[in-house]
């Protein structure tokens, strides 16, 4: 493997320069970088939208939005952008593209040109979503205000303007992008592992990506089908979801959540992989229970396909159906518990170094546990009756996504930033970013449990006065998290201006995966000779 660490001659790496290098790129690292930059932009837009919502909710009454429609447009766009244009591009497109070939000892992705189109579909998709904000949705008002779930008939007869059509086309492109990416990742992982790297020797991050892209491959086409039916209901007179023509609005919910539940695992499973790498690295100890960890992710992905209707306990399903979904959903807690305990066991007996990536990873483990156990509460249809569509649900899924998935993205960012950019980030700024965010997001979302229990519905721009107190606290927390985000961007700029060269392996003996054998940043093409895994 030492041979691989030798610097490669620049002449071997002739490539286009300037804008052509990126627009025409077939290089997994350049494409990964573009995905990461795209995710930063998406996260910025989605974050500004969320601060906008918290500004409105800070006090009772309508202050910033002249009607509630625009507030609903904000919630809708915030959800769609954070899912499709921030978390997925960062985790799968960004870190997946960058690290899968490096970690399995492959020179590039299996289908480099398909990789290019996978990325470039996304800006087009994002553009369509932005356009949807400016064309009519609900009568006389611009934008889609039907929530990211775009339930019919609110998204059909409730939104006569073309905004929903733009959103549907945007989702089609984003879906096509991720399906193409999934095909690419699956082929790469199955066929391009270096000699000696069996499936059971793959780093857990690669396992996590493999599980994720299978979820994408199986779930995204269902979304595509559902939104195509929505499109034809809206424009071509079909009645899939219109009772007047023999259709059923609940059918849309079944189709949507058959996609939607695997989708939430798509958002978190790559994070599991990153946390496993990071915890092992900074504990200077191999992952505890590697096989259990890998197959726990497979199990979570598999069970994730048979629990969808726990999002729909109030639609009037039969008792037997609700009972089934209660049991199936609670089963997911078992492999998730295996993962939490295995991370702790990995740290147990280790020699822990609390570098910035490790802080994010440990923060993730605890906050994901909090979000996980409230998930067990919500799994029980009996008590979900009181909590469905309240802020308790908002708190739950932000604990697993905003404090879960986003924490893993920052963990991965700080972990691989030296490798990707070649520069060290400032530990001080990174840790300041962590603590501001950790405190901020907990102030945002913990009180939302109280609001939900007290009965505050989701997706409302104004609330009964009794909810004012915790909403104020929550809003103040969001400003603190916003400050954290500014520190993050400052830290990135600082690292690029300071230009402190990073070592090939800045993390020491604990970092055992192949990417650390390469220079930082890696050469344009790596592994001209394949590494041999013993």
């Amino acid at each position: 493997m030492d041979a691989m660490a030798k610097p490669h001659g620049e002449d071997q790496h002739d490539h286009p320069h300037g804008w052509r290098r990126y627009l025409y790129s077939t290089n997994h690292k350049d494409i990964g970088t573009m995905y990461l930059v795209f995710a930063l932009v998406g996260g910025l837009v989605g974050g500004v939208l969320s601060i906008g919502m918290r500004l409105e909710l800070m006090h009772p009454g309508l202050q910033f939005f002249h009607d509630a429609h625009m507030f609903n447009v904000f919630t809708t766009a915030h959800g769609l952008i954070m899912i499709f244009f921030m978390v997925m591009p960062a985790m799968i497109g960004g870190f997946g593209n960058w690290m899968i070939p490096l970690m399995i000892g492959a020179p590039d992705m299996a289908f480099p040109r398909m990789n290019n189109i996978s990325f470039w579909l996304l800006p087009a998709s994002f553009t369509l979503l932005i356009i949807s904000l400016f064309v009519e949705g609900e009568p006389g008002a611009p934008g889609v205000a039907a929530g990211w779930t775009i339930y019919a008939p609110l998204s059909t007869s409730g939104h006569p303007g073309p905004a929903v059509d733009f959103a549907i086309l945007s989702l089609h492109l984003a879906g096509a992008s991720s399906i193409l990416g999934a095909i690419n990742f699956i082929t790469t992982i199955f066929n391009m592992r270096a000699p000696g790297m069996t499936m059971h020797k793959m780093p857990l991050f690669v396992w996590s990506q493999l599980v994720t892209v299978f979820l994408i491959l199986l779930a995204m086409p269902v979304l595509a089908g559902a939104i195509t039916m929505l499109l034809t209901d809206r424009n071509f007179g079909t009645t899939f979801f219109t009772p007047g023509g023999g259709g059923d609005p609940v059918l849309f919910q079944h189709l949507f959540w058959f996609f939607g539940h695997p989708e939430v695992y798509i958002l978190i499973v790559p994070g599991f992989g990153m946390v496993s790498q990071i915890v092992a690295t900074f504990s200077k100890k191999p992952v505890f229970g590697y096989l259990g960890m890998a197959y726990a992710m497979v199990a979570i992905g598999g069970i994730g396909f048979v629990v969808w209707a726990h999002h729909m306990y109030t639609v009037g399903m039969s008792t037997a159906a609700q009972a089934y979904f209660v049991v199936a959903t609670m089963v997911i807690a078992v492999p998730t518990g295996v993962k939490i305990f295995s991370w702790i066991a990995t740290m147990w007996g280790g020699s822990l170094e609390f570098k910035t990536p490790m802080l994010w990873a440990i923060g993730f483990i605890f906050l994901f546990t909090v979000g996980g156990v409230t998930g067990v509460v919500l799994a029980n249809a009996g008590v979900d009756r009181s909590l469905q569509d309240t802020y308790y649900v908002v708190a739950h899924f932000h604990y697993v996504l905003s404090l879960g998935a986003v924490f893993t993205i920052f963990a991965g960012w700080y972990y691989w930033f030296p490798k990707m950019s070649g520069y060290m980030y400032s530990e001080t700024i990174g840790k300041l970013h962590f603590w501001l965010t950790f405190i901020g997001v907990n102030i945002v979302f913990f009180p939302q449990h109280f609001l939900g229990l007290a009965g505050m519905p989701r997706r409302i721009a104004d609330y009964p006065d009794a909810f004012a107190g915790w909403n104020l606290v929550s809003s103040l927390g969001s400003y603190l998290s916003g400050l954290g985000a500014l520190v993050f961007f400052f830290g990135v700029a600082h690292a690029f201006m300071r230009k402190q060269q990073a070592a090939d392996n800045p993390w020491g003996a604990g970092a055992t995966t192949l990417e650390w054998t390469l220079p930082s940043p890696p050469p344009f093409h790596q592994y001209n000779e394949l590494p041999l895994i013993k």
Partner: protein, 283 residues
Amino acid sequence: MLLLKRLTVLAVTFVATLAGAATALAGLGQPSPWQLGLQKPASPVMDNIIWFHDFLLYIITGIAGFVLVLLIIVMVRFNARANPTPSRTTHNTLIEIAWTLIPIMILMFIAVPSFKLLFYQLNVPAADLTVKATGKQWFWTYSYPDNGEFEFDSLILKDGERKQDQPRLLAVDNDMVVPVNKTVRVITTGADVIHAFAVPSFGIKIDAIPGRINETWFTAEREGVYYGQCSELCGKDHAFMPIAVRVVSEQACSAWVEEAKKKYARKEEVPPSQVASAQSRSQ
């Protein structure tokens, strides 16, 4: 300065409310400021939900606390200074079996009361009264199919229309009226998009879906007005179509029904075509 002032106000209110929480008359049938838990129960179903939620809260607090303690232990005992030489342990079959089986047992322990609650909620008992709630953009229409043809709309009271004690965004012009200690079946449907009928203190929430009829039930154990809000995003004024259920004695309810028959039965000043469609709807 403004922020500082607001923070001071916040801190003062916070302490004051926490101190006053025990004595303050927390509103029945509506949320109270700085409330931490579920709304006070007014039906046997909600009693059970609260019991089950408290039961779960002990378990999940225990689990989250256990994980937190483990994390603190590893951070203290196994940081690089305290433990410079890491172990190489990567397997321990016994502990791996334990952390698979123990969660399964905890989940089974949860499942038993969970199912009891679920079956209790979903077995609708013989009803003394049926009320039909139709969700519309953006108000509710109630009808009493056992008691004649009348139906009436229930709209939010705007600023200036409310009396002193009526809560903002919850009070409506025409409450849904039901008798105390009687089993009321609520059937719901949606007229345009999906809405959801929810009254937290009764522990009920059921979607009102176009083309479908859903049902739920409650037995209100105390007189009073119980508020809820539409609980499915239904468009622009989703936040402004509350639900108010006024629970009164049986006699008062019968009297109200007689009055309502007269008050709401007439379909005055309606063009003939709409009368025809209204009649066909009610059949």
